[in-house]
């Protein structure tokens, strides 16, 4: 849902032009002209800032390179673009004013302040002044935050301080946008107008530099003002903001809603009808806290968060064949490792450390490591014993053995997964609304260049002598095994095969013959002799079969050994000698960096040849004042329970994406760090707040609120959770059809490491939007949260859904076998689907419906159909 909120943010341009502070007869290229290109939208990515420019005129994207822009202005098109003799004839002016056809339309009027400024600049020779003197030191937006009543307007004033010490009011050269136009709009001159209740971030951009401010608009008119008591500090913050906004929080949700909510949110499951009954009958005042504790240590909770972390860490992107990785082998191992750490509840900083500083060998001898790899390969068998083995490893080397996990792309993934930062744009250019430049990303990437998998290279055996020994050993073993197999197949095997063939013919002949003789009453002795012959034949056949199986086993091993060898030599994640500097190549050119620097820090760090540079990253992350690490996970966990991040989207912790409740976020982070990064503390604290436990029905007057937690935000169930809920509701299950890959029979959808062969399950996962866990996509938004016609149609009319409803062992069938009366049966369907008791009205309606149905069974099936098609079922609420 947060996506929609983002869309509500829009740029406001145009409007009237405020007084230009400086004398416009001597405009500065760097302070005024380039700023205008940004303000007027000329250098946007879909206009002249595009890689190839537009219609032959190119500017650097968002004005990142004003010097080059100046060169292009002067050089391109001879003197037509800038005509010094007749400035008014300059293409820049006649196009910009729309006097000749211009793809971008008219950007300013002839005689407007913009027009005059550009004309004066051209007339005075279109000189680029000294860029160093005009470097921006600070950009100050006033007021930094403001409380405005609906209908009220106020101006923003933006002051720039430059390197030469001068300060200038640059308001007329800025562009403005409101992140939530239903709360406040902002016009082209920087005048903010409050239009609706809430608070909105306002973004100001001067040249390529953004700055942010906020406006808070209280609700006008009467509010219900339900009197509530805060349960913990979360509520204090939330209620304080609501009070400022003159909004009322919602009532507490009822017990049944609460139980369904926590079961789905904590464990990804519907509570069973019996659990609902017990909970409703439980009179203990602490029962909510108690069930939260219980669910937080339930296996299903670890499954759910293993799923979430596997999404985040792209835990299915294996398949470098040359290095012997595959999704089938390795995705379940990575999942098992993550799940094991969550079950142990290791501190989150340690969790991150054990992933980020993972090596394959973990300081052990090559031999020990080789034994581990052999056991892992051998464990790829029924029941997957390798999963337990792998999950006992200290570190998750598989994180670094995924595709695209190293270098610049790897650094981007680390930033996204652990720091909540999106650095994708910085691969090519500075993000228009963020700080990150290419060098920030490259410098950070240099911390990840040296420890990674070896990869396939011709001289590996020379470079990595320790591993080469084992590479050779396993390959040699494979070769000799193959020779052995060949010999067996051609020697003993062939002989046995032939003997078995003869024996088979004999046995085929003897078996009916004996039967015939027995019927006709032939002498017992003769029969006994024939029997002996038959036994002998069968024994030959059995011997051959045993031999064949033995050879087939050897065959399998012979094929496995070279894979083990490859994985040992090429797939090992280790500290590599040397290391190449981080480099990016894009349509905008190639860039390289040799320094290593942490994100947001100004000073580079020095790396030593024999230590893991990634340790520096972890040490930096776990510092209490790290601006991203704790915030990213706190904000993500919050978003999981509340439907949106305190900073939203939750993976965009940009300074220019302001938090809705900054103090709350800070206090949560402090508490989380003080708890020694205890994830369970974090879950528990959020879950026990009344903010989380309030009703999804807003109080009167608070209906429009989306960002201040005036009520619980309903949201669609995740694909996996939904399918599991559908199975529970209908009393059925899905066979994943993955026996070939050694999956257990009874795997839940939340537990699947990648889309299984069962066509219905895959279809559900695709339809309801399961992330592909692919390193190419770095966005939490990959898990779709919207609703579409497909979602409705699938539940309403997919033949498999009907099969489930009508299943001969399903819920309705079971109910029909019971002695319950119809009302109790309906009650059970309610508990199994929407996890509450039906109201009197609903009981009456269902009763009438059953009475009018052909049979009670059919009637119940249709009631069940109705219930799984309610919004109450599809939504978390």
């Amino acid at each position: 849902m947060f996506r929609h909120l983002l869309f509500a943010a829009a740029i406001v341009l145009a409007g009237s032009w405020p007084a230009i502070a400086e004398d416009p007869s001597s405009p500065s290229y760097h302070r005024h002209v380039t700023a205008l290109f940004g303000r007027l939208g000329c250098n946007g990515g879909t206009c002249h800032g595009s890689v190839k420019g537009q219609n032959g005129f190119q500017l650097s994207l968002f004005g990142a390179d004003p010097v080059a822009d100046h060169r292009r202005l002067l050089r391109d098109h001879g003197t037509r673009r800038l005509n010094f003799l007749a400035p008014e004839q300059s293409l820049l002016l006649i196009k910009g004013a729309g006097l000749v056809p211009h793809g971008g339309g008219s950007r300013f009027r002839v005689g407007s302040a913009e027009y005059n400024l550009l004309r004066n600049w051209i007339a005075s020779g279109a000189i680029a002044d000294d860029p160093v003197r005009s470097q921006l030191k600070t950009l100050l937006v006033q007021p930094a935050s403001f409380r405005a009543n609906i209908g009220e307007s106020y101006p923003l004033k933006i002051e720039a301080t430059f390197a030469d010490g001068t300060t200038e009011d640059v308001t007329p050269y800025c562009s403005f946008e409101s992140f939530d136009r239903s709360v406040a709009t902002i016009n082209g001159t920087g005048v903010v107008k409050a239009v609706g209740t809430g608070d909105a971030g306002l973004l100001v951009r001067y040249r390529d530099q953004p700055a942010a401010t906020r406006v808070l608009v209280p609700h006008a008119g009467k509010t219900a003002m339900i009197d509530v008591q805060p349960k913990n500090f979360i509520d204090e913050h939330v209620l304080a903001t609501l009070k400022q906004l003159n909004l009322s929080p919602a009532e507490n949700c009822d017990d049944a809603t609460f139980l369904r909510r926590v079961s789905l949110d904590i464990a990804g499951q519907l509570p069973s009808p019996q659990m609902v009954r017990e909970f409703l009958n439980n009179n203990s005042p602490d029962k909510r806290a108690a069930i939260i504790e219980q669910l937080l240590v339930s296996p299903a909770h670890f499954d759910l968060w293993a799923m979430k972390f596997c999404d985040l860490l792209k835990g299915a992107d294996f398949g470098v064949y040359a290095d012997a990785f595959s999704k089938e082998h390795d995705a379940p191992r990575m999942q098992a490792w993550i799940r094991a750490r969550l079950a142990e509840n290791i501190p989150y900083d340690e969790f991150a450390e054990r992933i980020l500083t993972a090596t394959s060998r973990e300081g052990r001898s090559m031999e020990d490591y080789a034994n581990e790899v052999v056991s892992l390969f051998e464990g790829y068998a029924p029941d997957r014993p390798d999963l337990d083995l792998y999950s006992r490893r200290k570190t998750l080397d598989l994180f670094w053995q995924r595709r695209g996990s190293d270098g610049v792309r790897g650094a981007m993934q680390v930033a996204h997964a652990f720091l909540g930062l999106r650095l994708e744009c910085a691969q090519c250019h500075r993000h228009p609304n963020d700080n990150w430049q290419q060098e920030d990303l490259l410098d950070f990437a240099n911390l990840f260049m040296r420890v990674r998998t070896v990869g396939f290279q011709g001289d590996n055996e020379k470079k990595f002598a320790d591993a080469a020994v084992f590479f050779k050993k396993f390959n040699d073993e494979a070769k000799s095994l193959e020779a052995d197999i060949k010999q067996r197949k051609e020697g003993d095997g062939k002989k046995l095969e032939e003997e078995a063939k003869v024996a088979k013919t004999k046995s085929d002949k003897l078996t009916p013959e004996i039967a015939k003789l027995e019927k006709s009453g032939t002498a017992a002795e003769e029969i006994a002799n024939l029997r002996k012959e038959l036994e002998a034949a069968k024994e030959v056949m059995a011997r051959n079969e045993a031999y064949r199986q033995e050879v087939s086993k050897l065959d399998k091993r012979a094929k496995m050994l070279p894979e083990i060898a490859r994985r040992l030599l090429q797939g090992e994640c280790r500290l590599l000698p040397g290391g190449t500097p981080a480099k990016v190549t894009s349509t905008l050119g190639t860039r390289e960096s040799k320094t290593a620097r942490l994100l947001g820090e100004t000073e580079p760090v020095s790396l030593s040849d024999d230590s893991d540079p990634r340790q520096l990253v972890v040490d930096w992350m776990r510092k209490p004042d790290n601006p991203y690490f704790a915030r990213a996970i706190v904000n993500r966990v919050w978003a999981h329970y509340m439907g949106r991040g305190i900073i939203d989207p939750p993976d965009n912790l940009s300074a220019f994406n302001p938090a809705s409740h900054p103090d709350l976020l800070n206090e949560l982070c402090r508490g989380f760090i003080a708890s020694r990064f205890d994830l369970r503390w974090l879950h528990r604290t959020i879950l026990n707040s009344r903010t989380y436990q309030q009703s999804s029905l807003p109080a009167d007057g608070s209906e429009g609120d989306r960002t201040h937690y005036a009520s619980f935000a309903p949201r669609r169930l995740h694909a996996e959770v939904l399918l599991d809920a559908l199975n529970t509701a209908t009393g059925t299950s899905e066979n994943m059809d993955m026996k070939y890959y050694h999956w257990p029979e009874s795997v839940t959808t939340v537990q699947v490491p990648f889309a299984p062969r069962n066509a219905f399950v895959s279809f559900v996962l695709e339809t309801y939007g399961r992330p592909q866990r692919n390193a190419a996509v770095q966005c939490d938004c990959e898990r779709e949260s919207d609703v579409s016609i497909f979602h409705v149609l699938l539940l309403a009319n997919h033949p498999r859904v009907w099969e489930k409803i009508r299943d001969s062992n399903g819920r309705v069938a079971q109910l029909q076998k019971s002695m319950l009366d119809n009302d109790k049966k309906v009650e059970d369907l309610y508990l199994a689907t929407v996890c509450r008791l039906p109201t009197e009205m609903e009981r009456t309606a269902c009763d009438k419906f059953l009475a009018e149905s052909e049979s009670v069974e059919q009637g119940l099936q249709n009631v069940l159909w109705c219930l799984i098609n309610t919004r109450e079922f599809l939504l978390q609420h």
Binding site: M1, R3, L6, F7, A8, A9, A10, I11, G44, G45, T46, K52, Q54, G105, S175, S178, R181, R422, E424, N433, S696, L697, P698, E703, P714, R715, R716, A759, E766, T767, G769, Q772, A776, V777, Q778, C779, C781, E784, D786, V787, S788, I789, F790, H791, V792, L793, A796, N797, H798, P799, W802, E842, A845, F849, N862, V863, T870, R871, L875, H877
Partner: protein, 440 residues
Amino acid sequence: MKRRDFLRIGGMGMCGVGTLDLIRAHAATGIAPRAKQMIVCWLGGGPPHLDMFDMKPETSEDYRGIFQPIDTRVPGLQVGELLPEMAKRADKYTVIRSVTTMNKPGDHAQAPLYWLTGNPRLTTGSDEFPMYGSVVNKLRPGPGDLPTFVVLDEIDVHTHNSLSRSFLGSAHSPFVMQPLKDKDAVTKMLTPQLELPAFARNADLLKLLDNRLRKDDSQDELITGLDQHQQTAFNLLRSPKLRQALDLSKESPESIARFTRNKPAKARYPIGDPLHFLLARRLIEAGVPIVHFNLGYWDWHGENFVAGKQQIPMFDAGLAALLDDLDERGLLDSTIVLALGEMGRKPKIDKPHETNAGRDHWDYAQFVIAAGGGFNRGCIVGGTDKLGEQVVDKFYKVESFGRTLYHLLGIDPDTVIPTPANRPVKLIAEEAPIIKEAIL
């Protein structure tokens, strides 16, 4: 356009999109469409241009192959002898010989994605450009009781349906169905699983029971959206339109035979089903805006001429019958009909004198058949060199082709859409002129 939609298309404050884009977004659905509907017959794998619509009879045998050129109703246009029906109808369509991927990106993994979206893209990644039908579904959806974008069989023989995902979100993915298969779950999902009176009873009960979370519907987008989608879904199920369109028993045996008469009994490669031409026509008649289907497999590295004899006549009969039917019903002028693959095939034949003679990949020249919906009738655009290897006249990039389609569909290809990560992206990222020679 509702205000909210307007904002969603244009309002990407986060990434610095200017008023220009707002203006463009406004214009996005403002152009009067010449084409209301479109059928894409996708010849996945790359059909041989030298054996079909770009004959080179003057070349040596190891180039021109064994098929003779025949004259068509359009002076100057010859086609392969296996296309007699299309020859008779050459005054109904345009042959474009000058759009190619130039092998950037080439091969079966990427070229189909390029052709079918108008942008180079991969199956996953940050810039998942949408198929034309997905864009129509977002910006100009069809009647409320029909799907807007239907794919029959699958999108492409090599990449299957991986292209259905796009940055528009799964709500705009095509309905991929295989109605010719009895057990197809998606077809069934679109056909009520209950008799209509029973379905109506259920819907009534659902209305009574689904009364929670309803304090003020208009305030919650999620809940309003869900209600609307349920309404649409139920209308779709209640409406006989789709079911009737997919029901070929309504078609006379003679009519069916026109499409299937050249279907080979046994074939060298998977040939697809010519009934998809007929289904496409019936869906268009019913009012479905965009229908796409993959017709078999055209990657003939070996036995090019064996496969040609089997598959080309089938294609010829099917496409000709489709054009006839649409024209007779007065639908051709408002319906684009395309037949193309992701590449051509190599003019120089591999092992020319053997039965196994094949044509390898060729990404530098190919043909596109485009009819109706504003495309010219009886027209040839562009041309290749003597050997059919390189485009020498009126070269256009695939972006131009995509922009031409959007132009005819009345959608501005410069419409800016925010990706889920809120990056503003144009429907067709790169500037390119439309193929003006091909359109009316």
